[in-house]
Every structure is written in structure tokens, then in C-alpha cells.
């Protein structure tokens, strides 16, 4: 499946991703370079003390020198620097840990997105122009019209307040219980994934309808294969291709959405860190989080390209 050309392609993409990540961190770094001093300021600091503090954090050096130090540390050691607020805290391990939490949440959200999306899309296309189709199609529009925080809010209301007797009350993120207690994962993951499930459902439905008219499906039918086999093995496989094209934007959507969802459910992932570090003016963390996001988006796009190869044998790089 992976020819030499594919491997070269992967190599090129990895190089491109690395460059994109560097570019994004550079832009964010340069964009907010004057601001880190803010994080250090408080009501008790005056004049010279403040200048000395800037010096301590190397924030008084020329911008290009700071930038060069930053890039060298990032490239040679993967070092994103130290927090300005929580002294001595290394950013790289911090954001990597938080990335793990966010990936877990995003992964579950993707299960909802793709699982529900494909299911709805396939069912709607198989039952085209029946009430099932209309109900599912309308649900899709409703789904992607509901902001994820609205979905989350209603879930909290229903499961946290109105069904308090059953569920034991509002959900909060409990450290250590994360992997063991799926109950805390389903709600945020559903709220995060459902809007995009609606988009996947619409796309799947449309491309399924196109695929079932193709000759090879007719041939399969003529051979007397069972309908389920035709739908799953032949039609769905090809109908997946357009779905895969939106996985890139989807990944961005889930990353973006996780900022809101993590804040709502109090999940200490990257999104929570992002919002908090902006408020704290802890700009090196902002840069670190952004770098992680850029890497995630690049990886998602790479996975999308590779998925083409797996799904559609005709595509070669």
C-alpha cells in the first residue's frame, strides 16, 4: 500500500508540518513580544525593580535576540521556555500533559462525530425521501446550528440538575478518576462532537446517494449481494472520501471547540490552559499552546492524506 512515492510524500509533509509549526510559533511570538512584561507587573513593583525583573527573564533584550533564543531552544531541545506566572514551571512538559487530556477528550468527540455522522448519513441515504431521511436531515441542521456550549449547557441542566437524583449532581473534572470514570467524559465529548457529526451526516448522505448510482454498485446488486454488504463494503468505502476531506477542518473545529467545552466542564486540558494563560498574561504558555495546536492541525492534515491512500487504492502519491 505504501509505495516509495508515498513515503517520500510523507517525508515532505512532515517537513512542511515542522515549518508550519515554526511559522505559527514565530508569528505568535513576534505578535505578542512586548506583552510578557505585563505578567510580571503588580501593584507593588515600581520603576527600577520592574526593569530588573524584565532583565531576569531576558525580556529586556532586543526582540530579534529573544526570538533567536526562543527558536534555538525550541528546535534543539523542544523547549518552549518557562511560565512567567508559576515560576520555574517548564512549559513543554506542561502543555504535553495537557495535550494528552485534550486528545483524550477530542478522541471521544471524534467517535461521536464520525460514528453518529456516518450512521445518520447512511441511514438517511438508504431511506432517501422517507420520513426517516427528513427527520435525520433536519436534525443535522439543528445539530450544527447549536453551539457546542448550548448543547453542553442543556446536558448539564438535564443530567446535572433535573436528573440530580440519578446522576448525583453536576459533573466536574476529578483528577485521577479521568480514565476510570467514563461518565465524566461522555457529556463533554458529546457536546464537542455532535455539531460536527451533523456535518459528517450531511456529507455522507450526499456522497452515498451519488455512489449508489455508479455502475459497480449496480453490478454488485446484479450479482445478488446482500444490501448490507453492498452498503457497507462497497458504497460506504467510496462515500468516505469526501468525508475525509473535511477531517482537517473538523480537527480544527474540535480543537477550537475544546477551548469552550474544557472551560465549561473544568477539564484541565490545553483549551483551559489557553484561556487561562491569556487572562494571566502568561504569554509564553500562549505561544506554547498555539505551537501544540499548529502541530495537531498539521498532523490531522497528514492523517487525512494518508487516509486517502488507505481508503482509495487508486490514489497514489
Amino acid at each position: 500500500m505504501f509505495t516509495r512515492g508515498t513515503l517520500i510524500f510523507i517525508g515532505q509533509r512532515v517537513v512542511l508540518i515542522v515549518f508550519t509549526v515554526l511559522a505559527v510559533s514565530s508569528i505568535v511570538f513576534l505578535g505578542i513580544h512586548r506583552l510578557p512584561g505585563d505578567a510580571l507587573f503588580n501593584e507593588h513593583l515600581h520603576g527600577e525593580q520592574y526593569a530588573l525583573l524584565l532583565h531576569h527573564y531576558n525580556l529586556d533584550k532586543p526582540l530579534l535576540t529573544q526570538y533567536w533564543d526562543f527558536i534555538v531552544a525550541l528546535v534543539t531541545r523542544g523547549d518552549l521556555g518557562e511560565s512567567l506566572v508559576n515560576r520555574g514551571v517548564k512549559i513543554t512538559p506542561l502543555v504535553l500533559r495537557e495535550l494528552g487530556i485534550s486528545v483524550e477528550l477530542g478522541g471521544f468527540a471524534l467517535i461521536f462525530t464520525i460514528g453518529l455522522g456516518l450512521l445518520f448519513g447512511v441511514v438517511a441515504s438508504v431511506r432517501q425521501n422517507t420520513w426517516v431521511d427528513y427527520v435525520l436531515s433536519t436534525t443535522s441542521v439543528i445539530g450544527y446550528s447549536m453551539p457546542n456550549f448550548v448543547i453542553a449547557t442543556f446536558l448539564i441542566l438535564v443530567f446535572g440538575k433535573w436528573l440530580e437524583g440519578v446522576t448525583g449532581g453536576t459533573f466536574y473534572y476529578q483528577l485521577g478518576a479521568w480514565k476510570g470514570d467514563l461518565g465524566q467524559l461522555w457529556l463533554p465529548a458529546f457536546a464537542l462532537g455532535f455539531p460536527y457529526a451533523s456535518i459528517v451526516a450531511r456529507l455522507t448522505r450526499a456522497s452515498m446517494l451519488e455512489v449508489v448510482r455508479q455502475d459497480y454498485i449496480r453490478t454488485a446488486r446484479a450479482k445478488g449481494l446482500r444490501e448490507t454488504v453492498i452498503v457497507v463494503r462497497h458504497a460506504l468505502r467510496n462515500a468516505l472520501i469526501p468525508v475525509i476531506t473535511i477531517l482537517g477542518p473538523l480537527a480544527i473545529g474540535i480543537i477550537t471547540g475544546s477551548v469552550v467545552i474544557e472551560n465549561l466542564f473544568g477539564i484541565p486540558g490545553l483549551g483551559k490552559e489557553f484561556a487561562q494563560s491569556i487572562l494571566n498574561r502568561d504569554y509564553f504558555i500562549v505561544i506554547g499552546v498555539f505551537t501544540m495546536y499548529a502541530a495537531m492541525v498539521g498532523l490531522a492534515n497528514l492523517v487525512v492524506d494518508l487516509a486517502y491512500v488507505v481508503i482509495d487504492p487508486r490514489i497514489r502519491y
Binding site: 508550519t20 511559522a23 505559527v24 505568535v28 505578535g31 505578542i32 506583552l35 436531515s137 433536519t138 441542521v141 439543528i142 450544527y144 446550528s145 447549536m146 453551539p147 456550549f149 448550548v150 449547557t153 442543556f154 448539564i156 441542566l157 446535572g160 440538575k161 453536576t170 456535518i199 448522505r205 450526499a206 446517494l209 473535511i246 482537517g248 477542518p249 480544527i252 480543537i255 477550537t256 477551548v259 469552550v260 472551560n263 465549561l264 489557553f274 484561556a275 491569556i278 487572562l279 500562549v286 498555539f290 495546536y293 499548529a294 492541525v297 498539521g298 492534515n301
Partner: protein, 294 residues
């Protein structure tokens, strides 16, 4: 949301019948019609709110804090004892201004860029395409969030932040349309007869791409409203005491255990509005572009 409009769907030079056909098809789409009626009502409410709200939306303590809905306050009061209904009405203004305002700016930015890139191709097109792809590779909301924090939260800055992060949808669409249209006979003919490029672009190409542009702009409105709600929800919204549905929802979430009515009303109105724009957009696309019909 990216709307894919297939290039082969671009129609012949504009004919009157196209628009009347579209109108006929739109009228038959009951969901789209209902959505349009809802939106007209919403615009009505926003206009009425300029002159009249049941209470002054910034008046604090006119009801007990967190008061539940009653005859005097149909939607109850918020954490500062302000009338929720009045604030929801003003919030409609904010949402519509953000939604429509950003799309007008997106049109002003995206259409010319798309036209020029598609028409001249070459290095210009390559640069534009590259920039568009870079913007697509960045988490837009997060960039907007940083922008708003840097510029300071205000209605204008929110609109700017949204336009900066969302202009490329329109540019990409118009570029695609232009690329396809410039190969068509009537454009070729115009070019051969020495028409000025500006006249070709805005006099011939743009009118023929108008259908997809309208559809794209219609879908752009709810995405901008959603964006504003997100920003407000994360605390980067319009200046107090001006309410936005997003910031009202945020205040409501803070009190969700104690006063759930505070979050329910803005959440429902926000969702309904986004839904209405999406249904209307679907309807418009089906009407203006029959071949892409499901």
C-alpha cells in the same frame, strides 16, 4: 462552514428567469420560508428595541437578583436584577449587527481578492491561494480570541477579528467561480473586444457569480453570530452593560444550579437564530443552484 458549490453549476449569463425561478423554488421550501419569517420577526424585534424595551436593559435591581419569570418580567431577571427580556431584545441587535456587519466586510474583502486572483491567475493567484491555505490551517477562534484581547473588547474589534479569520471562505469561492467563468464564451468575447478588466470583473463575472456569493454570505451570517457568542462566552465580548446572547449565556452558566432560567432563554434564541439562517441558506442554495439539489 465551507459550502461547496460545484464549478459546473455556474449558469449562463444572468437571465431574469433564473431569479424568478429561484424565487418560485424558494417559496415551495417550507422550512426556508419559516426561517425567513422568523428572521424578519427577529429584525423587527431588533428595530423595536431601538425605541422600546419593557425596561431599560441596563437598569439594575429592578427585580430581585435571579428572579424567576413572572408577569412583570416574562423571562425573569439576571444576577444583577436586570430584566432578561429587555436584554435579550438588545442582544438581538448585537447579533444582527455582528452577523450582517461581518458579512458586508467579508464581501468587501473577499470578493475583490477572489476576483483578481481568479482573473489574473499566475503569481498573484499563487500568493492568494497560499495565504488562504495558511489561514485555513490555523484555529480561527483562537486567533480571534488573541486579537480581541490585544485590541480590547468592543463591537468593532470583534467584527474585525471575525473578518480577519473568516474572509477566506468568500475569497476562495469567488476565485473558483472566476476561474471557471473566465473560460466561458461570453467572457472570452468581452476580453477579445477589448473591454477593460474592471468592467469585465465587476460588470460580467461578478453578477454571474452572485448566486453562490449570496448563498455563501447567508451561511456566513450564522457562523459570525456563533463566533461572537463564543468570544462573549469566553469573556472577550462587547463592553458592559451591552448584552450579547453569548455573554448572557455565560452569566447564566455561572448560575445554572441556582437560576437555570438565566441560561435557557439566550441559549434557545441563539440556537433558533443560527438554525433559521442555516435553513434559509439551504433554501437559497437549492433555489439558486438547482443542480446541486440533494
Amino acid at each position: 462552514m465551507a459550502v461547496t458549490v460545484r464549478v459546473d453549476a455556474v449558469s449562463e449569463p444572468v437571465q431574469a428567469s433564473l431569479w424568478s425561478d429561484a424565487w418560485r423554488r424558494l417559496r415551495r421550501n417550507r422550512l426556508a420560508l419559516a426561517a425567513a419569517i422568523y428572521l424578519i420577526l427577529l429584525v423587527g424585534v431588533a428595530i423595536v428595541a431601538i425605541f422600546y424595551t419593557p425596561y431599560r436593559m441596563s437598569a439594575t435591581g429592578i427585580a430581585p437578583d435571579y428572579a424567576t419569570p413572572s408577569l412583570a418580567h416574562w423571562l425573569g431577571a439576571d444576577n444583577l436584577g436586570r430584566d432578561q427580556l429587555s436584554r435579550l431584545m438588545i442582544g438581538a441587535q448585537i447579533s444582527l449587527i455582528v452577523g450582517v456587519g461581518t458579512q458586508l466586510l467579508v464581501l468587501a474583502v473577499g470578493v475583490p481578492i477572489g476576483l483578481l486572483a481568479g482573473y489574473y491567475r499566475g503569481w498573484l493567484d499563487q500568493v492568494v491561494t497560499f495565504v488562504i491555505n495558511v489561514f485555513y490551517g490555523v484555529p480561527d477562534l483562537l486567533v480571534a480570541l488573541i486579537l480581541v484581547f490585544l485590541l480590547g473588547p468592543s463591537l468593532a474589534n470583534i467584527i474585525i477579528a471575525i473578518v480577519v479569520t473568516r474572509w477566506m471562505d468568500m475569497a476562495r469561492l469567488v476565485r473558483g467561480q472566476t476561474l471557471a467563468l473566465r473560460e466561458r464564451e461570453f467572457i472570452e468575447a468581452g476580453r477579445a473586444s477589448g473591454a477593460k478588466p474592471m468592467k469585465m470583473l465587476f460588470g460580467h463575472i461578478m453578477p454571474n457569480a452572485l448566486g453562490p456569493i449570496i448563498v455563501q454570505a447567508t451561511f456566513g451570517v450564522p457562523s459570525a453570530i456563533l463566533f461572537e457568542a463564543f468570544l462573549s462566552f469566553l469573556g472577550a465580548g462587547v463592553q458592559q452593560p451591552t448584552p450579547s446572547w453569548g455573554s448572557m449565556a455565560k452569566d447564566g452558566v455561572d448560575a445554572i444550579q441556582f437560576a437555570p432560567h438565566m441560561v435557557i432563554a439566550p441559549a434557545i434564541v441563539l440556537s433558533l437564530t443560527l438554525m433559521a439562517f442555516n435553513f434559509l441558506g439551504d433554501g437559497l442554495r437549492d433555489a439558486l443552484d438547482p443542480r446541486s439539489r440533494r
